[in-house]
Amino acid sequence: MTKLVALVPILPLLGFVIVGLGGKKLSKSLSGWIASGVVLISFVVSLILFFHLNQNSEQEVSIKLFDWIAAGRFSADLTLMVDPLTSIFLLVITGVGFLIHLYSIGYMHDDEGHNKFFSYLNLFVFFMLLLVMGSNFLVMYVGWEGVGLCSYLLIGFWHKNNSYNNAAKKAFIVNRIGDLGFLLGMFLIYVTFGSLNYSEVFSQAKFYVSDEPVLIAITLLLFVGAVGKSAQLPLYTWLPDAMAGPTPVSALIHAATMVTAGIYMVARSNILYTLAPTSLHIVALIGVITAVFAATIGLLQNDIKKVLAYSTVSQLGYMFLALGMGAYTTAVFHVVTHAFFKALLFLGAGSVIHAMGGEQDIRKMGGLKSHLPTTYLTFLIGTIAISGIPPFAGFFSKDEILAHAFAHNKIFWLLGLGGSVLTAFYMFRLLYLTFFGSFRGTHHQQQHLHESPKSITIPLIVLAALSVVGGFIGLPEAFHTKHLLKSFLSPVFADSDLRMLPAEITHATEYALMALAIIIVIVVVLLARNKYVVKGELPLQDGAPMTALPKLIAHKYYVDEIYDSFIVKPLHWIGTIFYRFMDIQVIDALVNFVGKATVWSSDRVRLIQTGKIGYYVFVMVLSVALLLLYISY
């Protein structure tokens, strides 16, 4: 059994090597099938491990590959481990990952970088698996950086377009800010606990007093990393831009897996967070604000992928809200259901874009229902699931979050409910504008409308099925059934659960809350239908006059512009000054002065020398004098 553990990440790595080295020598279909095949086998192995964990009382299976670093008192080994939390993530990564690989075979078929794409995709899966399977923070960090690199490569995949490159760079740089937090958090963990191994850190952490300053510092620094990777306020700006990448990438990396790495990190270090309620509170606050904030931006976006991107940011906010309330299981539950329906929605959007010949503006779509029946049906299921209408997957997970919020803090609940109302509205707006009404594109596009090939629709159907039934792994206790996910994950969160009594609400209240949520959502859906289908309203064209608030929202609250003028520009400015001052004013001016003062004769070079060297020696002597002064004061 332990040998199998190593197999999970090694297979995608193997795929990367084969497809990457094979290059153009491998035929397109072969490389696609190899890349998908390795992920499929990984998935099967993950399933075996899952059932093994489920049936046996073992808490984790691990295999030590080799001693990696041993420096002084510190040592880290490359040990892979699978416990219930990892197992859930493994299933999502390899399962959804496989479907998206399969989808990509059809989607990327005509792209010239086909093989490169699959090798990157496999590399990404490898790093993502490393991230969740490591048994210490260092391995997690390596995976964390690795997925960031792959994300960078894949966002800029169509690099002929310069704005795509900028999006890739932006993603990378914003993520580095978060990584800095993670790195510092890791240093602090090492300094505090003397180790980076999960088992040692967490078992020592148990003996700390609640809200010890060092724990708050560690958790907040780690959370900065999570904020960067999982696109929360204020570092979310890279994710909408990241939609420049091919659509399967958006589905896999920027919806289902990589962006949930932050959730995984917090859930993994749950005991640290439980012992630092102050940090938890900040996590919840950031989460709920992001959830509502991103949802409002989603209301007025007209690019089909951008709407989904803001929706992802918003849903990630819900997950952090759940984490912040100590409802770790709920957060993981939402990760799972979200992976199903958000991957489905992205892939559906990809299918639409494919049919529209690359068009992404929903104002130019409409009436696609009859042309793309399978896509429409599956997209509808995804929309219902994300809006939280029972019995689809999103309902149960979101309802659980809202129930926790109600018990925890009524304001969070109200905001959360508001966010889910907005979600329902913008998702149905998207659905109606895309699939209903009459076609608004060009004549040329209309003639080419077609349903996508099998390799695209099959993943859609599978994901749609999962979006329907996925919620049943976590039926609420109010239904008097067993919460399967909760009992499966309980060993991981046992220590936290001991310390934090979940705020209970009565079953009657829970029923009432569910009913309220469902009614409001249905009303909103009807409103959207009235506005976009019955009245046939269309979003305004770019540049059309708008009133202040919609304008503010349509421009995404000008966050990008604010960052640009307050952070990017000043930095650039300082840089320019440095350049102007040091290079041009001091060094070049000196050279030019000497050069101009004398004839441009054969000893020009010699004279330049004198000028410069004099200056250098001057600085050197001055520094020596200052150093000597320093030691003798």
Partner: protein
Amino acid sequence: MTLYIFYFLSFLAVLSAFMVVYSKNPVHSVLYLIVTFFSIAGHYILLNAQFLAAVHIIVYAGAIMVLFLYVIMMFNLNKEAEPHKDAYIKLAATIAGGIFMIVLIGSLKGVEHIENLNTPNQSAGLIKNLGNVLYRDYMLPFEMASILFLSAMVGAVFLGKNELK
């Protein structure tokens, strides 16, 4: 008596070193440098190191300075070709140099308590002792210095060689 000679030689050395920098005419600079070397050789004699004094005069004042003069005359550098430097730079350089000197002198305070400095070995500079030290204790650095000179020579030949293509 020795003390007065020491002060005189030191004054001469510093003054002529200053004049090396100050004179505009390169030939004068070289001549002042020779004066500096002679006064330093005088210091060696005061320290009972006659051999070093002789070598110093022969090698530096004799060979190297003659070479300098030769080069200056051959390239006809005897005109005041020194470019004018900015007065500010001069001022800044003077101040920096002055600070450096003061600080260095300052850091020498407390020297009188250092044991080694107060009990010098009077016969260290005699040729016999020098030979013993050089060829016994410091054999390796002495031999390695030959590699240093060899590499300098190869370099000089390499850079000076006239390449015919």
